[in-house]
């Protein structure tokens, strides 16, 4: 029995296919194990990090205003515009302005569309109805950008009205305006008025409408100055240059 059983078991051999399949399975396994999984993981982690930074970066660049548009009637509102020409911030600079900013949703609109919505909005009507003067001032991230933006605004329907004036300004002026607690459209008008009437303080004009300030300037200035200012209202960027000449 001993030998019979031994012989019988001896006849049992692992099939070649079985050996081949096992070798195949194991070499696939070792290849996978040797092929640095760690490297793969690092690559995945790195890709995820890059993706995160990219999306964070683009999110940051979207929500960061690089240019600003100040709209002054009596309510003073400033629109923060990002590098993609979208409005990402709306700030009111006085009580009316804050109210106005809260009543219209301008976020994520293109700046010229946003102005159209703002000027056409229900909340704006009482101010523009009574012959209110709308002063739009653009501060571009660069001089060229500012010019481009004010040109675009000037070409829009709402800017054709004689009661709308459009200027561009530079960053320093804007910062000075903010220090004085005014939006820069108003600050600009204030500086102009103070040249003519040095006794006027920032506090005095806080409640004035742009129309009132402009009328006061016109009152105080002589004919030639008025002419220059008129050019400023209609001529946009030229306005800024005129003022510098003063």
């Amino acid at each position: 029995m001993n030998n019979k059983i031994k012989d019988a078991f001896d006849a049992v051999r692992a099939e070649d296919e079985l050996k081949r399949n096992t070798k195949q399975f194991l070499s696939a396994y070792t290849a996978k194990a040797e092929n640095p999984i760690r490297y793969k993981k690092v690559a995945v982690a790195f890709a995820a990090l890059v993706l995160m930074l990219l999306s964070f970066g683009s999110w940051r660049s979207y929500v960061t205003p690089v240019s600003a548009i100040s709209v002054d009637v009596n309510p003073s509102v400033e629109l923060g515009v990002n590098r993609f020409d979208r409005v990402v911030a709306v700030d009111g600079y006085n009580e009316d302005g804050t109210e106005l900013a809260a009543s219209v949703d301008l976020k994520n609109l293109n700046y010229s569309d946003a102005l159209e919505v703002l000027l056409g909005s229900e909340a704006m009507q009482p101010y523009v109805a009574e012959d209110g003067l709308v002063s739009i001032t653009v501060i571009g991230s660069t001089r060229q950008k500012g010019e481009k933006m004010s040109n675009r605004i000037r070409s829009c329907g709402y800017a054709q009205s004689p009661n709308v004036e459009c200027h561009s300004a530079n960053r320093e002026e804007a910062e000075a305006a903010h220090e004085a607690g005014m939006s820069f459209g108003k600050y600009r008008a204030f500086l102009e008025l103070r040249n003519l009437a040095p006794e006027i303080t920032a506090n005095d004009i806080q409640t004035w409408t742009m129309r009132q300030i402009r009328d006061r300037i016109n009152e105080l200035s002589d004919g030639s100055n008025e002419q220059a200012n008129r050019n400023g209202f209609g001529g946009g960027y030229g306005g800024g240059q005129n003022r510098k000449n003063n």
Partner: protein, 161 residues
């Protein structure tokens, strides 16, 4: 982890042993393939240093038996019925051998394993006790009963040889 050359050497040396143990425990070919993968994967991953070829062979026998038993215990195995319940005796086996193998495989599992280890691998009852973690006397009893049953099936003349 062992190298691929190491693994190929082990497969060439021990594939037949593993195959025979699989035949003793399992009933179909697909399961055998699973056990092959499990056993040789364990070999790749194991850091055991073998003192001799005997030691290495015993390791393979031990690991294969455990793998088979684990497999039989597994939930999947207990709760499903294989479509292919044929006893996997390779077609290459001659009629004479087939008769013996069928007789051995017809025994209960506890007899099959001792018959295989004793008559084929040539282990003593003490060694079998160590491999199967059984008392030596139990192994003697199992061997005697297994022999008795085989004698009944195959006839007395097998015993005399």
């Amino acid at each position: 982890m062992r190298s691929e050359a190491d693994v190929n050497r082990a497969i060439n040396l021990y594939a037949n042993t593993v195959r025979r143990i699989c035949m003793v425990y399992l009933k179909n070919y697909a399961d055998t393939e699973d056990i092959f993968q499990t056993v040789f994967l364990k070999y790749i991953l194991s850091s055991t240093v073998f003192e001799s070829d005997e030691h290495e062979k015993a390791w393979f026998i031990r690991v294969t038996i455990n793998a088979c038993k684990d497999f039989l215990k597994s939930f999947f195995r207990k709760n499903t019925v294989s479509l292919d319940e044929a006893i996997p005796i390779s077609a290459a086996v001659t009629e004479d051998h087939r008769e013996v193998l069928e007789a051995v495989l017809a025994l209960p599992a506890k007899y099959r394993e001792v018959i295989y280890l004793h008559y084929y691998e040539g282990y003593s009852a003490v060694e079998i006790g160590k491999i199967l973690k059984k008392n030596v006397n139990t192994v003697y009893t199992l061997l005697n009963r297994a022999k008795g049953q085989l004698r009944e099936v195959l006839g007395g003349d097998y015993l005399e040889q």
